[in-house]
């Protein structure tokens, strides 16, 4: 590496509009549901070197989760139907913030609820916790008041949740979008207007596997969330669309398993990335990606992330309009 120019700056602030900031020393984040509460991986990798990690999804009350089986492997991917097994916000608050308070890695808490009020209540509780650096709002859950229709599929409902969380906390708020949204760009714009500091996407895609010998669904829950390399092109398309349409930082998630994958997301407009399913297989991957990204940037002469984020957007001479869905399929 050229010592005179120094190492490239990998740091990123994911909440530039928030006085509390969400400053990461590098843009590699362990994704919710794939990293437990951080400590599960503490014996395997140096967790403190990560840019940040996102906790398992927390709900207002304890949840036992779904019946077994909860996992099914699929081509280049996997289905999971864990069902948000977690100790509930109070059980969580008694234990983990205290643990994380002395960690150098920012801990982001992922929250899920079935009503707007519950989302706000959870955000208020987290606001007071010392070891919590930010909140990631999972809108991919059913809104009970609206007949179980998923919050994240609808721009207005996503915005309503975001506004309520925003009003309940000064912590940086990331809203994690669902790929099931009818129009992902309108949801992204709505949550940005409602006060989201950043947007992360995508959550898993709803899928299914059937055991042909037993002639029944593999998963106890019947359906599950598809993740892994199989979903990367879908995630990349949505990140490209959203990053080209909002001003807040975008965090890319979906099947990232190599530096090449990570670069695709940065070029599409992601300011940071989350690694999910790949951690299950390769726990040291996030740390290797940090090193490989630094080496790559040094080789390419990129001094900071700003020089590479959105490069593929700019190649179109600014914000070229995305084709409509029908045109996009080439059909």
């Amino acid at each position: 590496m050229d010592e005179e120019r120094g190492a490239p700056d990998l740091s990123v602030d994911l909440a530039p509009n928030n006085p509390r900031e969400l400053h990461l020393k590098n843009p590699v984040i362990a994704a919710s549901g794939c990293f437990g509460y951080g400590q599960e991986y503490a014996g395997v990798i140096d967790v403190q070197r990560l840019g940040a990690f996102v906790s398992k999804g927390i709900t207002p009350r304890p949840r036992a989760g779904n019946p077994m089986p909860r996992l099914a492997e699929t081509p280049a991917g996997m289905l999971n139907a864990i069902g948000l097994q977690n100790p509930g916000i109070r059980g969580f608050a008694r234990k983990y913030p205290r643990l994380w308070e002395h960690w150098r890695v920012p801990a982001i808490v992922n929250i899920s609820a079935e009503s707007v009020e519950e989302f706000a209540d959870m955000a208020a509780i987290l606001d007071e916790q010392p070891g919590v650096a930010g909140i990631e709002v999972n809108v991919s859950c059913p809104n009970i008041a609206r007949g179980g229709f998923c919050f994240g599929w609808d721009a207005d409902m996503s915005a309503e949740v975001t506004r309520a969380v925003r009003a309940a906390t000064t912590l940086p708020v990331i809203v994690k979008l669902s790929p099931g949204a009818v129009d992902i760009v309108s949801v992204a714009r709505a949550v940005e207007d409602a006060g989201a500091d950043a947007i992360s996407l995508i959550n898993t895609l709803v899928g299914m596997a059937i055991d042909i010998r037993q002639r029944r669904p593999v998963l106890g829950n019947l359906t599950g969330g598809l993740s892994g390399p199989a979903i990367k092109p879908v995630a990349l398309r949505m990140v490209y669309q959203v990053a080209g349409s909002v001003r807040v930082p975008v965090i890319g998630i979906g099947g990232i398993a190599s530096l090449a994958d990570a670069l695709e997301f940065f070029f599409a407009g992601a300011s940071a990335i989350q690694i999910g399913t790949a951690i299950f297989v390769d726990p040291s991957l996030p740390l290797r990606l940090i090193d490989e990204l630094a080496d790559w940037m040094a080789r390419e002469g990129a001094r900071n992330l700003g020089e590479i984020v959105g490069a593929a957007q700019r190649s179109h001479g600014g914000r070229a309009p995305m084709p409509t869905l029908a045109e996009g399929t080439g059909g």
């Binding site: 549901g33 794939c34 990293f35 437990g36 509460y37 400590q39 599960e40 991986y41 503490a42 014996g43 395997v44 398992k56 009350r61 304890p62 949840r63 036992a64 989760g65 019946p67 077994m68 089986p69 909860r70 996992l71 099914a72 492997e73 699929t74 081509p75 280049a76 991917g77 996997m78 999971n80 864990i82 097994q85 100790p87 059980g91 234990k95 892994g228 390399p229 199989a230 398993a257 399913t277 951690i279 299950f280 297989v281 390769d282 726990p283 040291s284």
Partner: protein, 281 residues
Amino acid sequence: MTDASIDVDETGANPAHGPGASREFAGSVVALEPIMGDSVLLTVAAPPQIARETRAGRFFEILCRYEETFDPLLRRPYSAFAADPESGLLQFLVRPYGRGSAWLARRAFGDPLNILGPLGNTYRIASRAQNLLMVAGGVGVAPLVMLANEAVARGCNVVFLLGATTADALLAPQWLPGDVEYVVATDDGSKGRHGFITDLIPEYVRWADQVFACGPEPMYRSLRNVLMPLRVGGRPPVQVSMERAMACGLGACLGCMVETRRGLQTTCVQGPVFDMGDIVW
């Protein structure tokens, strides 16, 4: 399942080992030999501390992936068949019945393996237990072979029951310590008792201080049916190794839960070995 069945482990870490004890390492294939019909005994050279941390019941997650693909995506869990602290060699029993195991069974001498482990808890021999009954079904024999060796080294008496489909799928007796009483059953009657291995259990229940089992869930079902009416005051206690679809192996994904009287527990960290009486079947 109800919310009341939730159990959040206070430490979150495996009580059996401290931080740093579970690690990724590069193994190297030393030998592959046929064993138990179409199965293969895989011998792997590993860093010496790995074998020292391996006890009967613990397992390893092995990456079994075709080159330059994501196929299969997830690692495959294998219980240790043997672990030699002197040489650092680990052994695994591989039955090629899926894409991952077929890949693993076709490795060659010198091939590298990406392995995570040792993971999970162990079978636990009680300090005063003298007579141990081991009940294995098919390739479930692997951790019990290791346990039989540990038990004999402690001076315990071991009766080892193994059930298989046919005679050629049985484990040859030389793989067990010499002073183990080895009794077999086959589904087709080609060797030993004709029928289920669990049919043999009544003969040994009063003799056994502890029972250890590893096999498919239907075997555990028949084990319970045979054992429960014969047990007196919960004796002898039974430990079983559970199998679940698994992703992380580290207690993070919560994909491999077992419902127990103490709440939901992870197979990968709090298991794979459970007291049969603790499991809500």
